[in-house]
């Protein structure tokens, strides 16, 4: 993503920030928050260390929230669980494609090194400072194209979603799987086996906080 891989690393592209932001702009702030927390830890145990490129969580979150906004504007189906599952599956596909796209862009950037070598040999030093801007433009264009294509495919398939069942008793448990994945990923990253006392303390505090939440914020 442009923020995490190219500019600033301010982490605006974190799912838990970017999804609420887009949700707020698109008039779906609650969906943005929920998608943000469900997607935040999904691929977080895969660190962008060295030359390794994990799937892109920001693309997952952005695709989900954009498609949710599109679905909610098209009709009430955006609110149903089967539709949300389709949106998440689109997001996962987008995230995996985003990871591949980052690898492609980084391969593409090899050309800029060669270009810089050439400009140095020619003495055209002033041109080198434009290379990051050119690279950013290309990265931005590639990702915009990816989101556009994912949105168009989603809209093209939308009439088919009419055949989805609207309800579902068991399907409503899909957020629990995502939340459990988030917790498992956090435990794995933080090596909880060495810190089980902290986990128990946190659990006790969380139960109390959850109870007080129910008491004070009905």
């Amino acid at each position: 993503m442009l923020d995490s891989a190219a500019v600033g690393q301010w982490m605006i592209s974190h799912p838990v920030i970017v999804a609420p932001l887009i949700g707020w702009v698109g008039g779906e702030p609650l969906a943005g928050l929920i998608i943000g927390i469900l997607c935040q830890m999904f691929w977080s145990h895969k660190m962008p260390v060295g030359a390794y490129n994990p799937p892109e969580s920001p693309v997952l979150a952005i695709t989900c929230i954009i498609n949710y906004i599109l679905a909610s504007k098209m009709g009430p189906m955006g609110l149903y669980h089967p539709m949300m599952i389709i949106i998440l599956l689109f997001g996962i596909a987008g995230g995996i494609l985003g990871g591949d796209l980052t690898i492609y862009i980084r391969n593409f950037n090899n050309r800029f090194s060669l270009l810089a070598d050439k400009w140095v040999m020619e003495g055209a030093y002033h041109k080198i400072q434009w290379i990051p801007l050119m690279a950013m433009g290309i990265t931005g264009a590639f990702y915009t194209l990816l989101f556009f294509l994912l949105g168009v495919i989603f809209l093209a398939l939308y009439p088919l979603f009419d055949y989805l069942p609207m309800g579902g008793i068991y399907l409503r448990y899909y957020p629990w799987i995502l939340l459990a994945i988030s917790v498992a990923v956090l435990l794995e990253i933080n090596q909880f086996k060495k810190r089980w006392k902290m986990l128990i303390a946190g659990l006790a505090f969380g139960c109390l906080a959850g109870f007080l939440h129910g008491y004070f914020i009905p």
Binding site: A6, V7, G8, Q9, W10, M11, V16, I17, I37, W43, M47, V49, G50, I85, R106, N107, N109, N110, S113, G123, Y125, I128, Q129, I131, P132, L133, A135, M136, T139, P165, I169, Y170, L171, Y174, I177, L178, L179, A180, S182, A184, V185, L186, E188, I189, N190, F192, M198, L199, I200, G202, L203, F205, G206, C207, L208, A209, G210, F211, G214, I217
Partner: protein, 273 residues
């Protein structure tokens, strides 16, 4: 040594560190980003054409580090480049060698430091904190958005601090900055951050079990039984997923498997089972 590099030059380098990753490439990784950050000091170094070409070629070589901690190396290299630009001919080769050695010697440790401190400890801890804030404030959107703003500011406070101090202190102290970094005892900070991360994860589990909007009402006596039951189920599910992660099963496969089970259960229910 006479210094021509001004605070304004260093400030420009600091701002440019934000674009260091823009041209990350597989062949020479951060080389172009590193060179891009050094461009504001070239004028102050007052190099002739030959030395200028050497400067560019030197920094177009392979370089890789953590984007935040690379600023420390930048600061050190700026100082060394300044010394090189004013070196006597007899000293020139040695100083040139020093730059190469320092750049190669610092990039690995700084990369490892950033990866462990920022990617593996600080970022997951902040993420856990934010998930918790949102879970606790969810019915009130403005509070949840305020939480996001706090997250953003807290995270970037560290980001900008490391970049700024890295460039300025790296330039001021040169390679001696490593002593300051050692004093910080970063592995210990890492451990503490992970402790907080685990505490917050435990809190998330507790909140999921006992929070009202997950379908229970604290005023009903049945609430407590339901909450404990849900807590046990959730911990079991997270434990199974954690075991899957330990076996290197990806989260995508885990989610798709879980989803398949739910869809199968739904289909069975619809067919009358």
């Amino acid at each position: 040594m006479e210094t021509h590099i001004t605070k304004k030059d260093l400030l420009k380098v600091f701002f440019r560190t934000h674009l260091m990753m823009a041209v990350w490439n597989f062949q020479r990784m951060l080389n172009l980003g590193f060179l891009f950050c050094l461009l504001p000091i070239i004028k102050s170094l007052r190099l002739n054409e030959e030395k200028k070409r050497e400067f560019y070629q030197r920094h177009l070589n392979f370089y890789n580090s953590h984007p935040y901690f690379a600023s420390v190396v930048l600061g050190i290299i700026i100082k060394k480049e300044e010394e090189l630009s004013q070196a006597l001919p007899a000293d020139y080769k040695n100083k040139l060698q020093t730059i190469d050695t320092l750049k190669r010697g610092f990039m690995g440790p700084m990369g490892a430091l950033g990866d462990s401190l920022v990617w593996e400890s600080f970022r997951p801890m902040i993420s856990a904190g934010l998930i918790l804030i949102i879970l606790l404030t969810l019915p009130h959107l403005s509070l949840a958005y305020a939480g996001i703003l706090i997250y953003f500011l807290l995270y970037n406070l560290l980001n900008e601090y490391i970049r700024f101090v890295g460039v300025f202190e790296g330039y001021k102290k040169g390679e001696a900055i490593i002593k300051d970094i050692n004093v910080l005892n970063i592995p210990r900070i890492n451990e503490k951050l992970k402790d907080v991360g685990v505490f917050l994860t435990g809190t998330i589990i507790g909140v999921i079990g006992f929070t009202f909007y997950f379908g229970t009402n604290w005023m009903m006596p049945y609430y407590y039984v339901q909450a404990v039951f849900r807590l046990i189920l959730f911990i079991s599910l997270a434990g199974i997923i954690w075991l899957g992660l330990r076996k290197n099963i990806s989260t995508t496969v885990i989610f798709l498997t879980g989803l398949s089970i739910l869809i199968a259960a739904e289909l069975l229910r619809n067919t009358g089972f």
